[in-house]
Subunit: 382 residues, 2 copies
């Protein structure tokens, strides 16, 4: 294929694959797409090792890294040395303890995860300074893109990337944010619709993409609701130069999605996701689960905390819930979930990531041919 | 163009235009599309007159009628003779009175609208028997389609239409509903995404359409998020055979949208709509307004009633609000709103409906050509 994106990034097929799993990143890059490693869960050391692993496998083919940089942070949590855990109110801890008891998780797994250890880890990562460390590590590798998921990229990040000749991508959910991101130096905009998994706005891909394309003068990728070649063709018809997909990789062979969650995803319909603040503190689309229901609807719920406090609280609990779920605890299996978009309803079988790319390419070609067949627009004047 | 829909309905361009305004219906039909008159606001006598008006102007070109038939109704309100108004709790009436006072509407317009008169009117229309009367009237005209917006069409409606040789269309928001509608006799499915105006589900057009196309063996129109030719091309790429648009006509020259609401729509961004139960009792996307905010967020709000009670309460109030808004009352202008989809952010100028169709056709052709240019898929094996 030929789009501005294909030339800009040296890819054959303008599919950007966001994944926390290095195997998916390498597989998509090697299949002619562009893998993007979600780095938020990694320490700088671990990220370095993961990227070296990828470097050894992609033979110079292009891939990128995504970091999560919140535009604004509570000053109370901006200092990575601060004990984030101390900022979590007793009422919220109690509600989590109540949930674990109610769903029979605590009895099975009485060893609590040290919240302050998780907190220190998170404090390092989900702050401007923490993300800065990841960016530094990433730029030591031959990456072709660095992406920032929340708010405009910090000026230092853009400056570092520019110096290294690496384009910066920014995810946005509104036209206004797209304009702001380009003004802040973004070289590529990922216009992400409300149907996407993870942190997402309220405007759908169908509505958002053409408006963003009209508003900015950099290339635009469409994200949200894209898991097959028909949806990719639709994205290009809307004016995008390529697509950014996350959910579709979660059920691939390579994905490290926990088996219980993968099974839930394979069984889910598109009505089984919810945009909830219960996992990170910001609205993020995920599988609907007992966790999201209890936080969002239970009368005794204290309501989610702001990011990153809720993220910390949730991840500490999810570590235990995940362990219990995989060992067969039915209550834990009800609580278990993960970020995923509405396309989860289409994900009904496990495929290798490489096969997903090939299927998309074939479906894409067929969709364009079908749209063409529908048009009998004569070459002369209408 | 040639799609199954073009042949099935004898149109040149598979754009179905839903509008409550006969002028829009006639203009779209005469421009090569297919106008569909929203009949819910009409009495049978008025509908008859409107359709005769259209008949005289379209010279045998195809158009259709849309009725609102709720699948289930409270038995308490199923009898059109029952005084619906009596079923509205005091608390809800009081909240409306409070809103009108708070926004300065009651002082300006002290003449209350008789709720029981509105109720009788609504009772006739928004019930299976009421809609049946409209269907009977519609089938006396040379209509090419009858559509049902809520739930499976009642068997009598399908039988009447079939006898008259008129295809029945059904609007759906999930794959499950699409299957059910086809089983109930629908000849055409309108798969409507969450971004659409009016009654709408939670799944986006991008995600919903391909799944519905795969699930049913009748033609599918895409609805929700479609107001230009790029979005139409996207819909066809997703597998739809045509599109169903509502919002885009609200800001046309012909539309009878009240001037205040039209101005609000022209100024609104895609972030200015909300899916709220405050206007009809069912989740319906509309302009965000003081009305939706107060009902959905004010601590003193009693919460919306079920349909059709909330619709009755809201419409009686909206009659007064609209009158006050048009006479310049700023509080009433804050309360005023109407059903519209997220595409409202694209509607920035007033065009004749005919021009909208022509623009869509041109943009559609350009979008398909652009998608084609992106593909350099060789004709040989890949």
């Amino acid at each position: 294929m030929r789009t501005a994106i294909c030339e800009m990034f040296g890819v054959e097929f303008p599919v950007f694959a966001f994944s926390h799993c290095r195997d998916v990143v390498a597989a998509v890059t090697n299949a002619g797409g562009f893998g993007v490693l979600g780095a938020v869960a990694y320490s700088p050391e671990r990220l370095d090792a993961e990227l070296s692993w990828i470097d050894e496998r992609v033979g110079g083919r292009p891939y990128g890294v995504d970091v999560l940089v919140p535009a604004r942070l509570d000053t109370s949590v901006a200092d990575p040395a601060a004990r984030l855990a101390e900022a979590i109110p007793e009422r919220h801890r109690d509600f989590v303890a109540h949930l674990l008891r109610k769903y029979g998780v605590s009895e099975l797994d009485p060893v609590p995860v040290s919240m302050s250890a998780v907190a220190d880890e998170f404090g390092r990562r989900v702050t401007a300074r923490g993300a800065g460390g990841l960016v530094e590590v990433a730029l030591r590798h031959p990456i072709g893109l660095i992406a920032s998921a929340l708010g405009p990229p910090p000026p230092e990040m853009t400056a570092q990337a520019r110096k290294a000749g690496v384009p910066v991508a920014a995810l946005v959910g509104t036209v206004e944010h797209a304009r702001r991101q380009v003004a802040a130096g973004a070289d590529l905009i990922v216009a992400q619709g409300s149907e996407a998994g993870g942190h997402t706005g309220e405007i759908s891909t169908m509505v958002l993409v053409p408006q963003v394309v009209d508003a900015v003068d950099v290339p635009v990728l469409a994200a949200g609701g894209i898991a097959d070649g028909r949806q990719m063709a639709a994205a290009l018809a809307l004016g995008a130069e390529g697509v950014w997909c996350g959910s579709v990789w979660l059920t691939t062979e390579e994905a490290e999605t926990p088996p219980v969650v993968k099974r839930k995803m394979l069984a889910a319909t598109s009505a089984d996701t919810v945009r909830s603040r219960s996992r990170t503190g910001k609205p993020a689309r995920q599988l609907a689960s007992a966790w999201t229901r209890e936080w969002d609807e239970a009368p005794e719920s204290p309501g989610p905390l702001p990011m990153p406090l809720q993220m910390l609280l949730a991840e500490a609990a999810m570590t235990r819930i995940g362990r219990a779920a995989e060992s067969g605890n039915p209550g834990a299996q009800e609580l278990a979930g993960y970020f995923v978009g509405q396309v989860v309803g289409q994900l009904n079988r496990v495929r290798p990531a490489r096969r997903v790319v090939h299927d998309m390419a074939e479906e894409f070609a067929a969709a364009v041919e079908r749209a063409l067949a529908a048009v009998s627009i004569s070459p002369g004047p209408r």
